[in-house]
């Protein structure tokens, strides 16, 4: 039934899409009069050449792992959660409330508490569109887009009117107490004798994100619930026939998705900024779409593509710093990746399928000489 071998499906198709996106990006860089080779070199040294660069790359990658997994689990149930941005904003609110109003004795407890709050807030923000989709048939893409804007307005209101300390001008919460500050990779690796940059923001949330990748892999491929989610995603009618409730799966998949997107806040809000500011998500919710598409919605794929996008973000920041190439180059690359791995998937796939059909030698039916009956 499968036209292509599995390795082509898993590796070749995303690789070609990525190469197409990279080639076009190189053309864009050429068109604005810069040297693509020098740009790539600068990105590599800037993002991977030092532990400082790695610290930023892994910090961004942590954000993208959470949002990428959020989009991926929804994709498995054939739901397009475009609302990761809003869910991550609400997650930030949950983290802020947990850190500001609960006196935590130690960062490890604070991390657990904040992660639960972040997940809860994100899950609630995803559960409303999920319920509207499951029960009222409203298109989840549209409602999650609307909820992004509503979340932005809500956060703006809360920060300006409720959480902003007296006398402070910028709309942000107070600094979180010392006890909630997460250890950075520098502090985690120092006891092991590994030197890691002190000023890079990568922190213990990276390990949480990696653990989330593994847990989600177990959930999707090794549990009954994961099977039900995948079955529902493949065919709603077949899933219904097998006794799987569409309402239940839609709700559960979106709640997990929203919780994951919300949990991103333990990295950017609790780990890095240590207070909640406006626009703390910086579009990471949308990058999750590109990450999930490139990772083929598989947790391992999400892991690698999150690191790739972390590299692009840190490298892009370096480019903007040292050359006249603005940071928006990364947005263009991100758009091209979404375009080629998502929307133009068939453009890559169709010729490949034709190629594999051509070269495939049909397996020879093994013919046993029929013994004449005695």
């Amino acid at each position: 039934m499968d036209v292509m071998p599995k390795w082509a499906e898993v590796i070749l198709v995303p690789l070609i899409s990525l190469l197409l996106a990279a080639a076009l990006s190189a053309l864009v860089i050429l068109a604005i009069g810069e040297d693509p080779v020098a740009a790539v070199k600068m990105m590599v040294t800037g993002a991977l050449g030092s532990t400082y660069g790695w610290g930023y790359t892994l910090y961004y990658a942590t954000n993208f792992m959470f949002t990428g997994l959020a989009v991926a689990i929804a994709f498995h149930a054939r739901l397009f959660n475009i609302g990761g941005e809003g869910q991550a904003m609400l997650g930030g609110l949950g983290v802020a409330l947990a850190c500001l109003y609960i006196p935590w004795p130690h960062w490890s407890l604070a991390l657990i508490g904040a992660a639960v709050m972040a997940g809860l807030f994100g899950a609630v923000w995803a559960a409303i569109p999920a319920w509207l989709q499951a029960k009222r048939g409203s298109h989840i893409v549209i409602t999650t887009i609307m909820f992004n804007f509503i979340a932005a307005a809500l956060l703006n209101y809360v920060l300006v009117n409720l959480l902003r300390p007296r006398g402070q001008m910028d709309p942000a919460t107070a600094r979180f107490p010392e006890a909630t500050n997460l250890p950075t990779l520098h502090e985690l690796l120092a006891p092991l004798g590994i030197e890691f940059s002190k000023s890079a923001p990568a922190n213990v949330s990276f390990l949480v994100a990696v653990a989330a990748c593994f847990v989600l892999w177990v959930l999707i491929w090794r549990t009954r619930l994961g099977y039900e989610i995948r079955a529902y995603g493949h065919s709603e009618s077949a899933a219904k026939y097998a006794g799987i409730s569409p309402v239940r799966i839609t709700m559960i998949a979106m709640i997990i998705s929203g919780a994951l997107a919300g949990m991103m806040a333990i990295n950017n809000v609790m780990g890095e900024a240590e207070r909640l500011v406006l626009n703390s998500t910086e579009g990471a919710g949308f990058i999750g779409i590109a990450v999930a598409l490139m990772g083929r919605s598989h947790p391992l794929g999400v892991f690698f593509s999150a690191i790739l996008f972390g590299f692009l973000y840190q490298g892009g920041a370096e480019l903007a710093l040292w050359t006249s190439i603005p940071r928006e180059l990364i947005v263009v690359i991100q758009a091209l990746v979404i375009l080629f791995t998502g929307a133009l998937d068939n453009m890559v796939r169709m010729p490949l399928e034709r190629f594999f059909l051509m070269v495939r030698t049909p397996p020879k039916p093994e013919r046993k000489p029929v013994e004449p009956a005695e």
Binding site: V28, A31, I32, G33, F80, I82, L132, R136, G137, S138, H139, V141, I142, T143, I145, M146, F147, F149, I150, A153, L154, N156, Y157, V160, N161, F286, I289, L293, S324, I325, P326, E328, L329, I330, V331, V332, I333, Q334, A335, L336, I338, L339, G342, A343, L344, D345, N346, M347, M350
Partner: protein, 322 residues
């Protein structure tokens, strides 16, 4: 609130509703033909940049408008190739187009003008100026009708009148022509259209192209009429408000006019918090007004107040043989 304040408020309502209306009608053509388009935002943004950039380079706003339409139509063509020819996911294609426009406009603006992702301010012939309708000055002093005509109806740029004229035109095209009938049919049941020997692909490309033209005008309006020049991310979610208005309008042209005027009014009120306080007696948070179009759309989508039923074949690529 006195009469002049009301006129001023409605005047800015019209100004703010115009780009929404154009983008909403753009989405209407596309979605009525069965192609979901969440890339309205990106197309508007690209058109806003290219019209301002070309207008500032050539000094002619009309050449700028054409450049904006061309930019918007190229993105529309990309959407068409991805979602019609290669049967890709229309939503993902729309997301990609939004990012492509957001990134490329700043990148090119920086390369061309080196002003931190903006174009130079447009002056004189590089902008659409307000048009004084005949007789506006003459009757401006007549009570009630005078200000209404001179302030509210007269004095807008040509694009505003084009946008309002597009509403009956769209209605006529969709409901009174053979093309319109086929366009609506292709969004409901493409197989039936195909059986009748009409090209589904052709019709859908036509719809996407019209969508591109209208988004182009909407974007050009933003940078050459509403404001004088392009700034980074200047579409500021208007494409999504237009999408909300489209749902609010239940994919119908006249309703689209009322929906966008209503959302335009919210936008106008957001800048005049004193007016609301005077009229209803208490303060309304600006953030609430900003979020109101989205909240109302969610309520409508949920079917609590009237049901918005999208075109049946929307979002589904058409596969000929099955």
């Amino acid at each position: 609130m006195d009469y002049m304040t009301l006129i001023q408020l409605l005047d800015s309502t019209v100004r703010l509703a115009t780009p929404l209306l154009l983008a909403c009608l753009a989405g209407l053509f596309s979605e009525r033909a069965g192609i979901f388009d969440i890339g309205l935002e990106g197309k508007m943004l690209a058109a806003a940049f290219f019209s301002a950039a070309v207008a500032s380079l050539t000094g002619s706003v009309w050449i700028g408008l054409l450049a904006g339409i061309a930019a918007s139509m190229s993105l529309a063509a990309l959407h068409g190739v991805a979602s019609i020819t290669f049967r890709g996911n229309q939503l993902i294609s729309g997301v990609a187009i939004n990012f492509l426009a957001a990134g490329l406009t700043v990148l090119i603006a920086q390369d061309w003008f080196s002003q931190g992702g903006r174009t130079p301010s447009l002056m004189g012939g590089a902008r659409f100026e307000g048009i004084t309708l005949p007789g506006a000055d003459a009757i401006a002093d007549v009570p009630v009708i005078g200000p209404l005509y001179a302030e509210l109806i007269s004095g807008h740029s040509i694009l505003v009148y084009m946008a309002f004229a597009a509403v009956p035109l769209t209605w006529w095209l969709l409901y009174r022509t053979r093309f319109g009938l086929r366009l609506r049919a292709v969004g409901e049941n493409p197989a039936a259209v195909d059986t009748a020997g009409v090209s589904v692909v052709g019709l859908r490309y036509a719809a996407v192209a019209i969508c591109g033209v209208l988004c182009g005008i909407a974007g050009a309006y933003l940078s050459t009429a509403l404001q004088a020049g392009f700034v980074k991310d200047m579409s500021a979610g208007r494409g999504f408000i237009a999408l909300a208005a489209l749902i609010f309008a239940k994919w119908r042209p006249w309703y689209a006019l009322w929906a966008t005027l209503l959302f335009g009014l919210f936008g106008a009120l957001e800048t005049r918090p004193d007016v609301i306080e005077n009229v209803i007696g208490f303060k309304v948070q600006g953030q609430l007004l900003g979020a109101l179009p989205y909240l109302m759309t969610v309520v409508i989508l949920a079917g609590f107040v009237g049901k918005a039923i999208p075109p049946r074949a929307g979002g589904e690529p058409y596969v000929k043989e099955r």
